[in-house]
Symmetry: C4
Subunit: 232 residues, 4 copies
């Protein structure tokens, strides 16, 4: 019995939730979760379909991407995940999908403006689209560079106030306190991206929310005086 | 055994119908129903997922938003619901969703014009989008102000002839004779909003229905000489 | 035991197929089928939901809309159905839906051009949108006038070569050799309407198919030398 | 017991997967698979619905379209399939669908540009739209000419680097090492087509990916140094 059995089971279930929510097809997407005390990350194996995957297939790596436990190759996006864990000290889980509407925004290389309170409830400001990589970065350590694309976009931004980002020409990454919450944010992003798509195609000049409403909605859920939900 | 058991069960079922109809994800949305004789409103608890919710979790409040029965916090939108019950004397249920197409119209801050008979069968005229709140209103009693946004839009309008409204930058509210009918109106609104979106993106200059057809369709279902359906 | 038991069962099943195919919600839509020998039409009752409907609820009327058998009111669209049976001698079933994409074209008051072979396989030419009714027609015998709208659009057109039409500002009607085939045409229309919507929003100037391909596809399925399928 | 029993079973299952993935309705679409050693192709029978079809209904033909085994007519598109097998020496399966978004691009007569890495992961460059047939070609051996349309578009293109094509005014064809992989490519094409539609309607000027990223994504999955997935 591995000491990572519980971690791997949680990561397995978070990955399966991706498929249950309709956020992935075939082998698309991957979820990871970190055990900060042990310094390890559990992540989906590369190219395995959700229907075939078992909890014991989850791969455990350290923060330098060395395999600690597992017989399969980890996701080809592993270096992006570990980069995020090394730079965002408070996050516990990361999700990558190619969900349809969020990916359309990525392909249009546009940040998603905050057009309504659905967005403001979860993200304080735009959902940022990263810059495009240079040819040198693509030809270099590509998956690490994708992580760098993301963390550079957060130099003046709190990862917890915007737990989702769009990588230009590629697709979204989201994060949370654990793998499950990062999947929840991936599902919310897809819905926000879809609403924003519909709004902008209905009216290309639709304006973002005023700052006051944006603050109000975000803070009633996430501020120190939050009053949404059952916990304090 | 509470004297509100039956009311809470009906409100529970109306809330579950929101999820069954695909109008909400996660904890989005809420339905309430009033017992006018008792002066109480039963409403979904705040931030509880539909899969986890039980009938006994439904919260009962009075029209001034005081908890009468229940161990959980009521929906953070409760003040909007009670405002509507106080101002619209004939309604028995209220639904709030962030359903996708209706929310896109809210984010575009546009009323939905009556483009066809599907709309005319249920709403006599536009589905109105409210004005935008001032910063002072947002920073004040926000959920009460949302109710005020709605009732101000109905100063010259019969709530029964248009049982659905779009709150600018936010999302729809609908109502009916009870919670179940308010959910029915939420589902119809989403379908009407989707058809109107498709029509306007196919032809941005698509014209509303002529008044004669609008009157005919609304009145064959709702006028004193209505001949649709089985009841008189 | 009624002599219309089998007719009513077939009409019941054709109506249920509307819901199974996702072409209707709640009480939307209706299917009828004629027994030409008996001179009667069986049709969905008005305003009854699909989940509640039973085969014995189907109403039998004659071609002048008098109830021959049944305890419920027939569909409020009955006069449109009987008008079509009186004027299109070869049809055996009629379906009316408010399916989403076909209704969007109706609301845009545009005929659906033949943009591809999916369309050409079933309809020889445009799927015509009728003219708009005059106020006098709306205020007169409205449902009969809707039938007149349709048959006037077919004065120089074979109903079998185009078993689907769009009523301006309203929604589609389709027909076939029986109720089941009219539902099949309703489902095909919705898919054709969706493809045409996507094509025109991708490229507003997209051109119709050339006549040669249009003829080829229609005739390989429907001409005297048809070679698609197993019969013939 | 036929010597083609296993081939027919695989083709049956690949055809059923088309329906399971939502890529076809009714009798739309068809999948074939070749046994190169035996010189035969197994293919769906013409005009049979997926729910009614049985493994023994699959028809076996030779590469000149003569029936080798089977009691039903083969798909009316058989000549297109055999044309592809004769000209693309390395393919083992072919799929034809009228999936909605891919067909919209075909109707717009536009190639799908490579707008993101989802596309680049599977196709190296545009997903090409063929030229339009001349009237003479349509009136001649139409299904053979459709195959010629496709192979002409691949004169300077490797079929394995772009296992999917769009036939102008018609719909897509895809291929793979066997019938199952050709269905996989049909499903990927539909998702890529949908993302590209959303991107272009969000921003009609959205630019294709840079060549460096296009190469990187395709080659990390398909090049000699591929590192995606579990096999070498």
């Amino acid at each position: 019995m591995s000491k990572y059995t519980e971690l791997k089971r949680e990561v397995y279930e978070a990955n399966m939730e991706l498929q249950n929510r309709g956020l992935v097809i075939y082998t698309f997407g991957n979820v990871s979760q970190i055990d900060r005390a042990a310094g390890v990350v559990a992540i989906k194996p590369s190219g395995v379909s959700y229907d075939a995957m078992k909890p014991e297939d989850i791969v455990v790596v350290d923060l330098e991407n060395n395999i600690v436990e597992g017989t399969m190759r980890p996701s080809s996006d592993t270096k992006t995940h570990t980069h995020l864990y090394r730079h965002f000290a408070d996050i516990g889980g990361v999700t990558h999908t190619h969900s349809t509407y969020a990916t359309a925004w990525a392909q249009a290389k546009q940040s998603i403006p905050c057009l309504g309170t659905t967005h403001a409830d979860y993200v304080h400001g735009d959902i940022v689209c990263t810059r495009v990589l240079t040819d040198e970065q693509v030809q270099g350590d590509y998956e690490e560079e994708t992580g760098i694309q993301i963390t550079e976009a957060y130099q003046n931004r709190d990862p917890k106030a915007a737990p989702m980002v769009i990588v230009a020409g590629h697709a979204p990454f989201t994060w949370g306190k654990d793998g499950a919450e990062s999947v929840y944010h991936a599902a919310l992003l897809e819905e926000i991206a879809r609403m924003a798509y519909l709004t902008r195609t209905l009216d290309p000049k639709a304006e973002p929310l005023k700052q006051a409403i944006l603050d109000k909605h975000y803070l009633r859920k996430h501020g120190k005086d939050a009053y949404y939900g059952q916990s304090k």
